[in-house]
């Protein structure tokens, strides 16, 4: 369980990135964090594993105050994957790159091998095992960076913009992988602008603007909140737009439709029930 209590942070006193953020994320949750550029999302993520320390307020991990834990200690529990893969890849093959984090944290050789091959398979990297990360495409590099953190199997996974540069197929596989990890009990936290990715995969959404949390709750209600969408400079999910168009013709349907299945059910009920 992660708890942030009134966390404030500003960069060298010049630029205030967080102005009193409080939130609680329980074990096994899937949470999306959205917000306009500069809303403080990445700064928030860096507080989860101690890269940044709150200047006011506290961060708790499983009820323990984290101010005395080192980043390496927290990295075992919270795996953070950054936006740019190029900031972490430095070894000569995909395989050694993925093994690097495991070795840092002191896993045995067999464990390293086992986890490496498992992760590579999960992310569709098996065929690239001996390739140099620097020769790969942007999307592939991104998956290698992701794999290098996933392999550690941290209890909490925090991903900063994981869908950028991934094609639809890869996005779907990423979603599946995250679902599997989540089913195995891991908490998944994602920062993203990809609203369709949120709708399909994350039951809870936190919206941030100007260093504060402006909405936190079930995805469907946050994403139908006009102010939140506006402040995060997003457009409504396609299904919500479809539902609104539908509502013009059929005023009595719900406005809070965000997923495909909800819209499908509504249309079916308008058409007079499901045909068997």
């Amino acid at each position: 369980m992660i708890m942030l209590d009134d966390v404030h942070f500003s960069y060298e006193g010049i630029y205030t990135a967080l102005r009193g953020v409080s939130l609680q994320i329980d074990d096994g949750e899937r949470v999306a964090i959205m917000g306009a550029n500069g809303a403080g999302k990445t700064t928030l993520m860096k507080h989860l594993n101690g890269l940044l320390r709150p200047q006011k307020g506290k961060v708790f991990l499983d009820g323990r105050d984290t101010s005395r834990l080192s980043v390496a200690q927290m990295a075992r529990v919270v795996g953070l994957v950054f936006q740019s893969p190029d900031y972490q890849l430095f070894l000569d093959s995909v395989h050694t790159e993925i093994a690097f984090g495991l070795r840092n944290l002191g896993f045995t050789d067999e464990e390293v091998e086992e986890r490496c091959s498992k992760t590579m398979e999960g992310l569709g990297l098996s065929g690239l095992s001996e390739r140099s990360p620097f020769d790969l495409s942007g999307g592939e590099r991104k998956r290698v960076a992701l794999a290098s953190v996933l392999a550690v199997e941290p209890r909490v996974l925090a991903l900063d913009e994981p869908t950028i540069g991934q094609d639809a197929g890869q996005k779907e596989r990423l979603a599946e992988l995250l679902m599997d990890l989540n089913k195995a009990g891991r908490t998944v936290i994602v920062v993203t602008h990809d609203i369709e990715f949120i709708v399909e995969n994350f039951p809870r959404t936190i919206a941030m603007a100007d260093g504060k949390i402006i909405a936190d709750g079930p995805t469907s209600s946050v994403l139908s909140n006009e102010r939140a969408i506006d402040l995060c400079s997003l457009t409504y999910p396609q299904m919500t737009q479809a539902a609104r168009a539908l509502k013009r013709a059929f005023p009595d349907i719900s406005e809070r439709l965000t997923s495909l299945s909800e819209v499908e059910d509504t249309i079916v009920s308008i058409l007079g029930g499901r045909r068997k």
């Binding site: 860096k46 594993n49 890269l51 080192s70 980043v71 390496a72 990295a75 075992r76 795996g79 953070l80 994957v81 950054f82 740019s84 190029d86 900031y87 972490q88 890849l89 430095f90 070894l91 690097f100 984090g101 840092n104 944290l105 620097f134 290098s148 953190v149 550690v152």
Partner: protein
């Protein structure tokens, strides 16, 4: 970045000062002459005199604070220089010698910083161009200066990424710490090379080098005071070189510490 803090003295600061308003070419000449004079001498007193002649230039450029901060950052390195020279130097009074070398290093850095503190990267490239350096090289030079802060930012981002993977940068024995530089330096180089390529591509797609003959909005002009600076520098250089080569310095000038 306290370790590299001493480099601050080589970073341009915008100020309204007599030194800033000089032509970069005359400043370059002045800087080089000061640097050459600092290496002409090896004894404590002459070096101190040189140093106290150069320091007012920094004061005149209204940058004493920055200079002092840099020197504070440099102090660790200086202590290092003193200790190692004292221990390893074969001369008869090594401590005195290493003090002299330290003063020389400070004087040298101060001399060179007179130029870098007061010349904007754009002025530097314009100066190079008017000294008939090809535009492409001059441009590359000012780009390099422009990207130093970006590189520093990137280094921090990379450190964060690696820490998140369990690299403990500030723990362990010295060998381990040195090995820990690898995960920082490799991505930094790769990212820089990628960026260099993409900057080159975007510059070409915006027509860089399309016209052979360039014209410039601002051209540097050598004014009377610039000639004055160059003349004074030449005189100082000639005089001191003559002194160094043909005039035996009086006994008191060669004073050194007893050990």
């Amino acid at each position: 970045m306290s370790l590299l803090g001493f480099l601050e003295v080589f970073q341009y600061t915008r100020r309204d000062s007599p030194i800033h308003s000089l032509d970069p070419r005359s400043k370059l000449f002045l800087s080089i002459v000061c640097a050459v004079i600092s290496v002409l001498f090896t004894d404590i007193l002459p070096l101190l005199i040189v140093f106290f002649c150069v320091l007012p230039l920094i004061a005149l450029a209204r940058s004493m604070k920055r200079w002092a901060r840099s020197m504070k950052g440099l102090s660790i390195l200086l202590v290092f220089v003193i200790v190692f020279n004292t221990l390893l130097s074969p001369v008869t009074n090594p401590f005195s010698r290493s003090i002299a070398l330290t003063i020389r290093l400070i004087a040298l850095m101060t001399s060179i910083s007179v130029f870098f503190l007061t010349v904007h990267p754009d002025q530097l490239s314009q100066a190079l161009i008017q000294m008939h350096v090809k535009f492409e090289f001059a441009f590359a030079m000012s780009m390099a200066m422009r990207y130093v802060p970006t590189l520093a930012q990137e280094a921090y981002a990379i450190m964060d990424s690696q820490k998140a993977r369990g690299v403990e940068l500030d723990r362990g024995n010295p060998v381990r710490r040195i090995r820990n530089i690898v995960p920082i330096i490799v991505p930094l180089i790769i990212v820089s090379m990628r960026r260099a390529l993409s900057i080159a591509e975007s510059m070409e797609s915006r027509g860089f080098g399309a016209s052979k003959k360039r014209t410039y909005m601002d051209r540097l002009r050598f004014r009377k005071r610039d000639w004055g600076v160059v003349l004074a520098s030449v005189l100082a250089l000639v005089l001191l070189t003559y002194v160094r080569l043909y005039v035996p310095l009086p006994e008191w000038m060669l004073w050194s510490l007893p050990f």
